[in-house]
């Protein structure tokens, strides 16, 4: 136990006391504040920090991480911009896990939980990881990643025997065989979470799944790709403590065979790719999470199912739920916290009518993401009035209808922002004319706590952006699409917004002199990258050539690592030194 002698700029508190207190402080902002107090506290924080999230992998380097936080136990690194989920980023853009895996292998002895999101992973990286940390790794999440195959997973399956969590959701994986799952089935008896949902891995054997269910008595969450439900009867019987299941499909013509399927008794989080919902009715009242994104239900089916789920807290579905489904939701699901309505392909749509009723009925709502065909100021005001717990609000206006009922939406947006005081994340994807410069100014003025924003087709001139950038004191990450703003206005905004450290823009007024205007935002420790306008030719489902025109993109971010060195051809770095 060390006792420090009192010095003029020293707290006088012994390290031992601090070390007792610090474990209770694990929020990243608290820890960041602690590390700024003085050198001693910085060192103590570095030695004891357990979890690090690197929000953007090029802001720092892996060896800086290792030098500052050698004792880190849990690491999350994110790569490609969010737009990669919508096919707007070239595949080879970057975000390689290699340097991070190498650091983990070489120096991060305590690492147990590893999560990579939207990054490029190679089989060799997985092999290095498995060989170096396979004995201790407890969780591996490769979330929306790409670049690897089932051979890489084989290494994980055979060498990572302490794995409790393996998550591959939505990754693009080259499938060579199903051996990787067989390895897990043969070697692992403590798996709790297995997830390869939304991948194309179909060569997995359901017998291996059954074996895993029998061996792993703590298996609580399994999310798989397409697999016939009838093949899983044995699996369901063996997975006695299963709480979450997603995936599978009901393809068999003889529907009475499905009566033999009994779901595990504790199942409360469910996602089925099915049009058969009656099989769910017996335990619908237990459900607190429902994923209907890949289900084949129509509006009526939605209503019938939802009214049987009074304990529902999380719902994901498509616009086929319709305004009527939202009414049923508002009446039946008073505990609803998270609702995501993705864009479907049919004619049914969700509008301000459904949203108003939803806001009035589901007062516990914290997250709302919805594609609407029509929206009014009044419905946004309702959300501001009733949804007092809303932290994350995302609205996208479809271009199905020629005009919308009520625009501009300036006043509605203002009312929503003023009413939802807890709002931290905001996305508005609209149309020209729907949110004027005045409305954009309101967003700046009335979003004191918002840290992330995605704005599409807002404002009508640079004035709007100037007004916007006078506010938003907490805004750290800004993404914009379809802007009418000039490069000069963008550079100005990047300099004005006090907390901004990441800016992504696609579609803006390029200036005639190549990018000099953008360089106005150049600062030390800030990288600016351009992806110039590209034309991509792909073939669609019917083998026809499809030409996609991608407008230019800007990505500007704060970084301690200097400019990137792993650019593909499509990306250009703006270096003011040149």
């Amino acid at each position: 136990m060390e006792e420090r002698r009192t010095a003029p700029f020293n707290t006088g508190m012994p390290d031992a006391v601090l070390k007792c207190v610090l474990p209770y402080l694990d929020g990243p902002r608290d820890r960041a504040s602690i590390s700024l107090v003085c050198r001693r506290w910085y060192e103590l924080d570095s030695a004891s920090r357990k979890h690090i999230t690197i929000a953007f992998c090029y802001t720092t380097t892996a060896d800086r991480l290792g030098r500052r936080f050698p004792a880190v136990e849990s690491l999350k690194v994110k790569g490609k911009p969010r737009a990669a989920m919508y096919d707007l980023i070239p595949d080879d853009w970057g975000g390689y896990v290699r340097p991070w895996v190498q650091e983990v292998a070489a120096n991060l002895d305590r690492l147990r939980w590893l999560h990579f999101r939207r990054m490029i992973v190679r089989d060799s990286d997985l092999e290095v990881l498995a060989r170096s940390r396979g004995g201790v790794l407890r969780a591996l999440k490769l979330d929306k990643c790409s670049g690897f195959s089932t051979d890489g997973l084989f290494h994980i399956g055979s060498m990572c025997r302490e794995l409790r969590t393996l998550c591959l959701e939505e990754s693009s994986i080259v499938e060579l065989d199903g051996q990787w799952l067989h390895e897990i089935a043969m070697n692992n008896s403590i798996l709790e979470t297995l997830n390869f949902y939304r991948t194309d891995l179909v060569q997995v054997s359901f017998e291996d799944l059954e074996r895993i269910a029998r061996n792993c008595c703590n298996l609580t969450s399994v999310k798989i790709s397409n697999c016939e439900i009838l093949d899983l009867v044995g699996f369901f019987r063996a997975a006695a403590v299963l709480e979450e299941f997603c995936g599978g499909s009901f393809n068999n013509e003889q529907s009475d065979r499905y009566n033999a399927v009994t779901f595990p008794p504790k199942l409360c989080r469910l996602g089925l790719g099915s049009h058969r919902m009656p099989s769910v009715f017996p335990f619908a009242s237990l459900l607190n999470k429902l994923d209907l994104l890949y289900a084949l239900l129509d509006t009526e089916d939605h209503c019938l199912l939802i009214q049987r789920c009074p304990n529902l807290e999380i719902l994901e579905t498509r616009t086929v739920i319709g305004d009527r489904g939202l009414e049923v939701l508002a009446q039946s699901c008073k505990k609803l916290k998270r609702l995501r309505i993705e864009r479907g392909s049919g004619n049914v749509s969700v509008s301000h009518r459904g949203l108003t009723v939803l806001a009035q009925g589901c007062l516990a709502l914290e997250y709302l993401a919805v594609y609407v065909s029509d929206i009014t100021n009044a419905s946004l005001e309702s959300i501001g009035t009733y949804s007092k717990n809303l932290c994350d609000f995302r609205l996208a206006l479809l271009d199905r209808e020629e005009t919308i009922t009520d625009f501009p939406l300036d006043n509605g947006v203002r009312a929503l922002l003023r009413g939802c005081e807890k709002l931290r994340r905001l996305a508005l994807y609209l149309r020209p004319g729907v949110l004027t410069d005045v409305g954009l100014g309101y967003i700046g003025r009335y979003s004191p706590n918002v840290r992330w924003m995605f704005l599409g087709y807002v404002g009508s001139s640079d004035t709007g952006l100037f007004e916007f950038s006078k506010g938003c004191p907490s805004l750290q990450k800004l993404e914009m699409m379809g802007c009418c703003f000039s490069e000069r206005a963008l550079a100005h905004a990047a300099l004005q917004l006090p907390s901004l450290r990441y800016l992504w823009v696609q579609g803006y007024q390029t200036s005639s002199q190549s990018s000099d205007d953008l360089l106005a935002m150049a600062r030390p420790c800030r990288n600016i990258e351009l992806i110039p306008a590209r034309r991509v030719i792909t073939t669609d489902q019917v083998e026809e050539a499809v030409v996609l025109e991608h407008p230019a993109q800007i990505l500007a971010y704060c970084s301690l690592a200097g400019p990137r060195t792993d650019f593909p051809e499509t990306v250009i770095s703006l270096d003011p030194v040149l």
């Binding site: 271009d399 379809g482 669609d540 050539a545 996609l548």
Partner: protein
């Protein structure tokens, strides 16, 4: 959002189209653009210009050639669907007091439109700006399956982008559509 780029096809870019199909497309669109369009015999136009006369009665015109009929025209006025060189025989417009006829001679075709001032200005602007860019998008839209436009593509129209869909959901919806079309081979 302005749909003016679509109107440009109407200016005779696609020479292959007959006057009737051009006209039929025009009638099908729900726009505030109103007027009578027809293709006229270039010889006739020359004779009109050389005679310097704009006062031929409609009846004489009708004898010389046939004109595709315009349902809208019939509704709006008793004067039959003739291209109007005589301002006195102007079709009464439903648009309001601000519309005036605009006559466009292009490459052997004559078109007369009743337009508001705003529309006229945008037409002038488009004509001045030229159409190379629109040529591109017309060509590329021909290459792609038209039914997919609304759903999936990122197609630029003067820089406008429709909403891109989440990749995994898009794949699911496309596969489902495939399955539905495959399951009924006789449909």
């Amino acid at each position: 959002m302005s749909r003016a780029t679509v109107e440009l096809d109407f200016f005779g870019m696609e020479k292959a189209n007959s006057g009737k199909s051009q006209f039929q497309r025009f009638v099908d669109r729900r726009r505030s653009f109103r007027g009578a369009i027809s293709k006229m015999n270039p010889e006739l136009i020359k004779s009109v210009i050389s005679s310097g006369s704009t006062n031929l009665s409609p009846v004489d015109w009708r004898k010389s050639f046939s004109v595709p009929s315009s349902p809208k025209e019939d509704r709006s006025s008793p004067v039959p669907s003739l291209p109007i060189l005589n301002p006195a025989l102007r079709v009464s417009s439903e648009d309001g007091p601000e519309t005036a006829p605009m006559t466009i001679f292009y490459n052997g075709t004559v078109s007369v439109l009743n337009v508001t001032r705003d529309k006229a200005e945008s037409i002038f602007k488009l004509a001045v700006e030229g159409s190379s860019r629109n040529f591109e998008s017309t060509d590329s839209s021909k290459a792609a399956n038209p039914s997919r436009h609304q759903q999936n593509l990122l197609e630029t129209r003067n820089g406008d982008l429709p909403i891109a869909r989440n990749k995994s959901l898009q794949r699911f919806l496309e596969k489902r559509k495939e399955r539905l079309t495959c399951s009924s081979p006789y449909a």
